[in-house]
Symmetry: D2
Subunit: 350 residues, 4 copies
């Protein structure tokens, strides 16, 4: 049996940090050995410092680890980061400078030209940007990021369409779960029996990350995808799972059946390399008239698939459909994990 | 003091029927004197037959009325109908043939060429269709309808734009309340903490009613509006209030400020005639970044206004915004009431 | 027209503070002229400083008031306090020493022997304790308190039973609304679709406040009621309204009909004096088999009544029933308001 | 490998029927071979006839089975019944007369003197009643029942106390999940953000079943337990899991620690016989101050354990605590399954 790679978590006590701890419990390649959080938590055990909100119980070994401050020194080389955006910018840079590989779920560095914004099924070749990043910044370490939890389900469903037919226009309205706002996050008095038609900065993130993710790496930079994207983002009283109503128009001719076929056939590098967290079927197409639904379709492929349904013509654009993605697994901790698996498989962790 | 007009309600025990009873309690022109429902309820008092679900208590006088069968005979001339679509088609025709004025919230007759589909602020001139209806069908009575609860908020917000700038494209994604499905309606096990991305027949209704409502009466028929509409309809765990994320493109040039101005200035016949149920401001524009919300904005103008907010550019179409409308007041019972008020003011009840 | 008494609010930006502002908008005797909150809010207008969460819109006049720090100086003599318990102890004392009449909803001083813990319908005579308080503490001002939001519904329903038959044992299980925890209060991730069987300190408060409220003023102190109380307190996903399942045994013989009769006939000093916020019927008895319910029974008597139902024999104690009370109106801001009205009517504000 | 016993399900399309199908998917002893439901469903495949509401996907093999009418003939000898109480009485008798072993979750026969009402950990010896049943009724088959979903969590927590210290008084207030009402069950408009303080017939069932379950088999009948029980039953907006606030007084002296110890040590026949569905620890005691909670504690022991917490003195009775039990697993389908496992282990299926 091969020795596991030791990993650490920056921001371990937050909602996404907890997901990292939970998902890594039995990971075949990685092993959690170091947990860091704010000064308030430092010095206590993880079990003491953390208000555990994941339904599955806290892994015993993690509970006994001490919580460290977010400073290089005792940290392993490979780090997952789910730091709050208020501090992630500086702290992640500090770790990368100090030689760490920071696989981050935070939004701060995503749009920097030399930072890969990665979905392993969609744009694995963007990983090559880290060479430019290291060279340009003179770092021994590096920062690699995954997209916003709303962008990821959208882009997973768009990628096969872009490849097969070319995208022209994308209009997406999201109905987002409260877990996307972290903990304590959304107050019950705000959302119980309510819809909040605004999530700070979310629409801008979705619009610009989508085009970077579906862009092409030309020379030493990503050329954003040649299509327009518009996002309406809403919060609804759902615990987990972002549901998206999507309309698209395509560059070349396609039928409803063509869309369904390219989705069903979609496989990519993570599937070829058989990465541990890669869903066997990255996109699941449901044919019932009222699916996908967060209640019934989130658990498929351990939360790593995007579930698509209700594919039909759109009188304004060309096609419309509904997509569902697990926002704290595929949209956060699972996304970063798969990024790290890709990096190892491609030799970036050696 | 003028004698009130006696009215009856077809389908009085359902959710919309209950709203009629509640809203009519202190109406200055109309007085509920006759209640009809299915055979199962007939013969009991309204208080006995009805599982009252409106938060305001049942009006005492209505509770003591006997429930009749849905057959002409004892019914007053003016009837509000909220019959189930399974029976509304035949029953409403029977009453209109027998000389009754049926002001209906049911969907069955809405798209018939000689039946007015009416929003008094939007297309009061369509009311003239009843003359053709009576002539063509040889009826002494008539049927007048109001639109689907999702179409109404959309069209209220579109009407001033259509008039000022011309509509080209409309894409709407709804997040609809459970009360729209009636009672018992949506099972808790289906919707608690969930989103259902499908409501049977709803998208088709919204797409086609919107164009009829914004169409022009030419000769003896309505020419549908010259624009395209696409609707995504979703159910969310909200009790009352349909929230809609809307993108539009217009025929002539306009700025965000222009949109806000035409909405704020929008007044129409019901406001001029000072109809009892007419909202003083049919469209309320909120400037906060996270409004409208069902929890806070439904009660304004007694549930008869459409509340609009988050007006901003749309990268795919031209503008995007959020609209909110009370689905069982402005979207159902209140809509029919205002139709009847318009009919009286315009001399159609004489 | 008599000149209104100027009042101030300590803790004006919190949930209960907002209720004070809302309920006082059209009060016939009192007028809000001074608002105070934490340093963070001080210096801004109320509209700027306050994240308004009450469904009714913020009163315009209040929105324009500046928010002051919680320090005597510019404050009017009569103050309503809904300060956080972390600071209420010291701050309220400071104001009382400086000559202010502090009518407090905070828990800090409730159990002090010379502080009246008051429900005007239940123990108006306890108000006399303030004379002892002023004498003993050498204060020009005074502190008067109302009970915990869970105790108040319980005690309202118990008071007529204690008076008519004597109480022996009381066992209460509460299902409490999230608004009781203030704002931001309960995180959605904690309570959506969940029950939390614990509210910090709540059971102890209910058990001991109930006995003080139903105690007798003997010489210069309150002798706690001669009965035992046990409370189970639970949080449920309800916005407003505490529902309580109550079992009691009584000292003298009574029938179910006797209970219902003493509840229905219950009137007290606030009703006799016709105080503005006094419910005409302090206790409403519902006879349906499934009432009271927060959704349908909270609005009765403007949220100031206790609604009782399902009265039936209890095999373990003697009787059981369900009681419902509005936790932020009768259980907080409305309770303090009624206390102040009683104080004015009894000459304590002269 | 031993051949599995073929089983059928009466009422297979209902919520509990679906749970049977789901739980039996990989059962080591039993195999679903026959599914029956109302005439409306008969003749279609299970996948067609059933509106599947369990979160786990429908087992493929079950989906392909035809749905039969509820008539003996093609049914296997061993049947699980989750028939609606309107028909269960007659249909179950008919099958038992025809020689079938009916293991029923329905309430109809539970209180008949010769029908075992069984919790395998609590009163396995009551199973002997079926000998009297067969003799007295002249049946080749038999009916065995499990208790109501609210009684079962209560009685699981009481059984070790009754055995060790003797019960004197029990007062229980439930906060019950909507899944207990079946499908479509509770309308969203009734329960979203609400509490309903009444469930038809539930309190009577809990009070009388608890005493039968904890009764002694003397001669040929069960002598009900010698203690009093009072139940308050409430519905809350929770999907799965009944939470119960319980107060008890005991016949002999015990400390809080004694209670916790007898709960933790509690093992019974199903554990000794290592029955497949038996929880290893029938009672889990949590020591946090705010547990158990439906959101976090339902999954333990696959939904077959009762989770107890907040054990503390009760000023009115003697002790109080909170108990949680999964209402459609341990409280329904899982309960019947464990009954059938016990029957096989004890030779009742030979």
């Amino acid at each position: 049996m091969v020795k596991k790679i030791e990993v650490g978590i920056l921001g371990a006590t937050g909602m996404v940090g907890q997901r990292f701890v939970s998902l890594l419990e039995r990971h075949p390649w990685f092993e959690v050995r170091w947990l860091a959080a704010s000064e308030r938590s430092a010095g206590r055990t993880y079990a003491e410092a953390c208000n555990w909100r994941v339904r599955e119980p806290m892994p015993k070994a993690a509970g006994e680890l001490p919580v460290d401050e977010c400073k290089p020194g005792h940290a392993p080389q490979l780090l997952f980061s789910s730091l709050d955006s208020k501090v992630a910018g500086e702290v992640e840079k500090e770790f990368a400078q100090a030689g760490h590989v920071v696989v981050s779920n935070s939004g701060n560095h995503r749009m920097e030209p030399d930072v890969p914004l990665l979905i392993p099924e969609v744009n694995p070749e963007h990983l090559a940007l880290v060479r430019i990043q290291k060279k340009r910044r003179g770092w021994k370490g590096m920062i690699v990021t995954n997209p916003n939890c709303t962008a990821i389900g959208l882009v997973m469903s768009l990628a096969p369409l872009e490849k097969a037919f070319g995208l022209e226009k994308v209009l997406m309205t999201s109905m987002q779960a409260v877990s996307g706002a972290g903990y304590p996050g959304v107050p019950t008095l705000d959302i119980l029996g309510n819809v909040i038609p605004h999530i700070s900065g979310e629409e801008e993130k979705v619009e610009r990350e989508t085009r970077k993710l579906l862009g092409r790496l030309v020379d030493e930079a990503v050329q954003p995808g040649d299509f327009v994207v518009s996002a309406h983002c809403n919060r609804v009283p759902v615990e987990d799972g972002h549901t998206e109503s999507i309309s698209v128009s395509l560059k070349s001719k396609a039928s409803l059946e063509d869309l369904i076929e390219v989705w069903r056939k979609f496989r990519s590098l993570p599937q070829e390399r058989n990465l541990p967290f890669a869903p066997k079927h990255p996109i699941i197409v449901r044919e019932e008239r009222d699916r996908p639904q967060p209640k019934f379709d989130l658990a498929v492929e351990h939360g790593m698939a995007t579930v698509v349904g209700r594919v039909r013509p759109c009188p304004v654009l060309q096609f419309k459909y509904t997509a569902l993605s697990h926002n704290t697994i595929r949209g956060a901790a699972g996304a970063a994990l798969l990024n790290a698996e890709l990096m190892r498989a491609e030799g970036y962790l050696d």
